[in-house]
């Protein structure tokens, strides 16, 4: 029943763009139909997910594709449902936000509508796929629709470059996935995605499969150093697409890793340690590079890498718990990872939508050109603030709850065997470091973009974002507050997944008993109330005596708006400390005369992997392969000759 519901949602979502194919001058009707169909599809998908998490079963469905291929199997279990729920919410938010996008960019409306529907449908199918063939088809469909969405504004060169890099990266991942499923079929004797017998999974074959899955899905998730495609793609896509990429698409990588780990029971300890190390590295490197960015959306993209790292920390703990039979470690690690999947989807979706509304109103993504946006867009600013506080993991918002679960797991690991305790001793301060760095970064972004005085008349928002853009942001902000203040409502939904992961026959530990939900809730509400009372009493004190005065200028009578602290200057101390990692590039004007003329200063932090390693290497390979061009004659006959010769060789030596 639930699986059928989900497949129905897939069909509706996939068809939602079809009315746009009929030529019409305005496309108003097609847009409304597409949004309505997507909302219906996501509601159905969410209903299926909630039913499964509430204890319902998702029966397997077998769809015969054609006589030559094995039939496709679909199903829905707790792990899929946990990922399905935020995917539905974010796709619905993106569909509503698209109403606002389309009005402003009518030329690209059709493309976005068609591929938004296809992306939603294929993401749902990825989660529902229960065999390798169905999974690969859905995976590739999602990857390609994401490519067309990323390259929506393809008239800009930068967008095209980001799109091609994404396409190359995602296909490298698909190649690895082909290897994974090929080897999986050879090991398990079929394409069905069901858990292997622990005896078969524990050996070398299991480890090869796990490493292949980690590489393939890690490429999609954007773990360091496989993150190189992510910042460009997120920065150059339309904002609601970025929200989907960051909130849902890269989570498919996490889903893949968890699914593969579920398929391979009885993991050795080193899997957990490796995943933990990857998580810590991704989190620290991701946030460090985020601090160096000047582009609002690129900065948010680097934070996705950081949060994927935090999710991997939880995943690593879960694997360690599974390897050692420490059920509480498993429950806290898996619970932390899954809840952070939800939370990151919520607050990063919120941040991208708010950033999109802001950059659209101001016409630039450059943080240092923006400023004082909160004066004209107070609701957007408030939504961004909620997202910023949440992403720093601060109470009383949702980011804190999932980080607390992960921390609790790591503190419990301290009393385990020396290897595991040692890993936790490194991971705990690493997560603390990441939290403080994220705070630095978001104080910078929020303060420079939304607070202060506008830096230029050109980059000033004239009015608040339209309702179609505000409504999804407000919905996501409410969800962030809801999970943060009432975590006891969210945690039971994760319990069925934990029950799937513990060895059969044992009782899974109750997540609600391990996490002090009521204390978080009470303290959070009390603090919110105290803050509100203090704020309003301060407010009431100033209303009576309010006078129009400027900011205290410290004795310098001619301050200009250009003298405000910029994002570059805010981050400068950090970037200087982390020079060894970030390798910033700056062009400093020489001041050699007593009265130097006008000069330009600019600095940026190029990506460590893409700009410093991958592109130079690939360029070198391209140059060194120049001689191969001799074979490229441009005549069809010659190419047919090559085909003939290749076939001949293959047949002779096969």
């Amino acid at each position: 029943m639930n699986t059928t519901l989900l497949l129905l949602a897939v069909v509706i979502a996939a068809l939602s763009g079809v009315p746009s194919l009929w030529p019409s001058r305005r496309g108003e009707a097609a847009q409304s139909i597409a949004t309505a169909m997507l909302l219906l599809a996501t509601a159905l998908g969410a209903a299926a997910a909630i039913a499964v998490l509430g204890g319902g079963a998702g029966r397997s469905l077998h769809l015969p594709l054609n006589p030559l291929l094995p039939e496709l199997t679909f199903g829905l279990d707790a792990l899929s449902a946990v990922f399905l729920l935020p995917a539905c919410l974010l796709c619905a938010c993106a569909a509503v936000f698209d109403l606002g996008y389309w009005r402003a960019n009518a030329g690209e409306g059709r493309r976005v509508r068609i591929f938004l529907g296809l992306l939603t449908a294929s993401l749902m199918s990825v989660l529902a796929a229960r065999d390798g063939v169905a999974f690969l088809i859905a995976w590739e469909a999602a990857a390609l629709s994401a490519f067309f969405l990323i390259t929506t504004e393809h008239r800009q060169r930068e967008v095209r470059t980001a799109g091609w890099i994404y396409l190359a990266a995602t296909h490298a991942g698909t190649l690895l996935l082909l290897a994974f499923f090929g080897y999986w079929a050879a090991t398990s004797g079929g394409f069905a995605m069901t858990p292997l017998a622990p005896a078969a999974a524990g050996g070398a074959a299991g480890s090869v499969l796990f490493v292949l899955a980690l590489a393939a899905f890690g490429l999609k998730a954007g773990i360091v150093p496989l993150h190189f495609w992510l910042p460009g793609a997120h920065a150059n896509a339309p904002s609601h697409v970025s929200a989907l990429l960051s909130g849902v698409l890269i989570k498919m990588g996490v889903y893949g890793v968890l699914r593969a780990a579920w398929m391979l029971p009885g993991p050795p300890v080193w899997w957990g340690v490796v995943v933990l190390a990857i998580g810590a590295t991704s989190a620290v490197v991701g946030v460090a590079f985020a601090i160096g960015q000047h582009d609002l959306k690129r900065l948010l993209a680097y934070h996705s890498i950081e949060n994927i790292g935090i999710i991997f920390l939880g995943t690593g703990l879960a694997l360690l718990g599974r390897a050692t039979g420490h059920a509480e470690l498993l429950a806290l690690g898996l619970g932390g990872a899954l809840l952070h999947v939800w939370n990151h989807g919520l607050f990063k979706g919120l941040l991208f939508l708010a950033a999109g509304a802001t950059t659209h109103a101001c016409g630039t993504r450059e943080i240092d050109r923006l400023g004082g946006v909160a004066r004209t867009m107070p609701q957007t600013a408030a939504c961004f603030l909620v997202g910023a506080v949440a992403i720093c993991g601060l109470p009383p918002l949702n980011g804190f709850v999932s980080e607390l679960l992960t921390y609790l797991g790591m503190f419990r690991a301290l009393s385990d065997a020396p290897t595991i305790a040692g890993a936790a001793m490194v991971a705990i301060p690493a997560l603390a470091l990441v939290g403080a760095m994220a705070l630095l970064c978001f104080v910078k972004v929020f303060g420079v973009v939304y607070l202060g005085v506008p830096r230029s008349a050109a980059a000033t928002a004239e009015r608040e974002a339209p309702l179609a853009r505000r409504a999804p942001m407000l919905a996501l902000a409410v969800a962030c507050l809801g999970i943060g203040l009432l975590p006891m409502l969210a945690l039971p939904a994760l319990q069925p997944v934990i029950a799937d992961w513990v060895p059969a026959g044992t009782n899974p530990p109750d997540l609600g008993a391990l996490v002090p939900c009521s204390a978080i809730s009470v303290l959070g509400l009390a603090m919110l109330a105290a803050g509100a009372i203090l704020w309003s009493s301060l407010r009431s004190r100033c209303d009576r005596r309010q006078r129009a005065v400027g900011t205290w200028d410290c004795g310098y009578g001619r301050p200009t708006v250009a003298m405000q602290y910029t994002a570059t200057s805010f981050a400068q101390q950090f970037v200087d400390h982390s020079r060894f990692l970030l390798l910033p590039v700056a062009h400093r004007p020489a001041t050699d005369a007593l009265f130097p003329g006008p000069a330009r200063f600019d600095s940026h932090v190029p990506d460590l992997v893409l700009d410093r390693m991958l592109l130079p290497t690939l360029r070198g390979i391209a140059v060194s392969c120049n001689w191969l061009r001799a074979l490229q004659r441009g005549k069809v006959q010659v190419y047919l000759l090559y085909v003939f010769l290749t076939l001949l060789c293959l047949l002779l030596f096969a």
């Binding site: 109470p395 104080v443 900011t551 003298m563």
Partner: protein, 302 residues
């Protein structure tokens, strides 16, 4: 609510400004001055509460949310720290993480309120505050790791208020934790050698420059919040450093005496040291993290 929780609340609400008075008096004695009365900070707070406010027209609602949220978060954090080996008012597994993140929430709002004014000086202070806090955070958490390892507990009360812990065998690591956390106390509360609360040049300030534009009750809330934060950190450090007694009431007395002595120590540090150059501050903070890291290393084989 037990009588000890009540004493905890009363101490948290009333004692903090006294610490500022003690520090100021100690510094005055070192400088050969009489100095302000011990209760001067209380008078200052009352005076500020009665004053009006001047608010820059450049600011938004964030400007007042800064002091309000910071004070609320600091007070919430103060409920979690056990004082004088008595169980904290609220205690649960993982409360040390909530404690650290509540203080971080205060930092977020203080720094944002500073950026709200659009003043380059306040932006500079905000940048310094969050950059230095980034370096101090690992020290705090490594201390928690060491204490969790020694006590086998996952809450502040279990770590600091249990008479069984810390055993004598872990004396060395505990000394390191106290040393590391004392540096964090000085840094987080903007004392010399990190920051001079009495400096008069905006360019060298960290915390003071962030609150340049706040006045009247808002400034009062900030000063009071800062005093509570100092008190809470003192409670944290003393939780590790103080010896136990058999009697609960003697423990309270011991605690109050030692909090005041800690304030004297801070005053002595402030009188006998110069403020560090900004470039050297990160080095001291990293050393504090390393001290606590060594404490953890010594506890590996336990």
């Amino acid at each position: 609510m037990t009588v000890h929780s009540l004493i905890h609340l009363v101490l948290v609400l009333l004692l903090p400004p006294l610490l500022l008075g003690v520090i100021a008096r100690t510094k005055a004695v070192f400088a050969g001055r009489t100095g302000p009365p011990l209760l001067q900070p209380y008078h200052d707070l009352v005076k500020l509460l009665r004053k009006g406010m001047v608010i820059s027209s450049a600011t938004t609602a964030m400007f007042l949310a800064g002091p309000a949220v910071t004070l609320a978060a600091t007070l919430a954090a103060s409920l979690l720290v056990p004082l004088g080996h008595h169980a904290a008012v609220i205690s649960f597994p993982g409360d040390m993480i909530l404690f650290a993140y509540l203080l971080a929430l205060g930092r977020f709002f203080t720094a944002s309120a500073a950026l709200d004014t659009g003043s380059p000086f306040e932006g500079m202070g905000a940048a310094r505050e969050v950059t230095f806090a980034w370096l101090a955070e690992p020290s705090l958490f490594l201390g928690f790791v060491a204490l969790a390892r020694v006590s086998g507990s996952y809450s502040l009360t279990g770590m600091l208020a249990d008479p069984m812990a810390p055993p004598l065998g872990s004396l060395g690591p505990m000394v390191l934790v106290v040393a590391g956390w004392f540096i964090v106390l000085l840094a987080e509360n903007c004392r010399i050698p990190f920051d001079d609360p009495n400096t008069h040049l905006e360019l060298t300030m960290i915390h003071e420059v962030m609150v340049l534009d706040h006045s009247g009750p808002a400034l009062g809330a900030i000063l009071y919040g800062a005093a509570v934060k100092l008190f809470v950190f003192a409670g944290l450090v003393l939780g590790v450093a103080l010896p136990f007694t058999a009697d609960a009431w003697t423990d309270w007395l011991l605690f109050v005496v030692s909090v005041i002595s800690l304030a004297v120590v801070v005053g002595v540090v402030e009188s006998s040291m110069a403020r560090l150059r900004l470039l050297h501050i990160p080095k001291l903070l990293v050393s504090s993290s390393l001290l606590t890291a060594f404490a953890v290393v010594f506890l590996i084989d336990r």
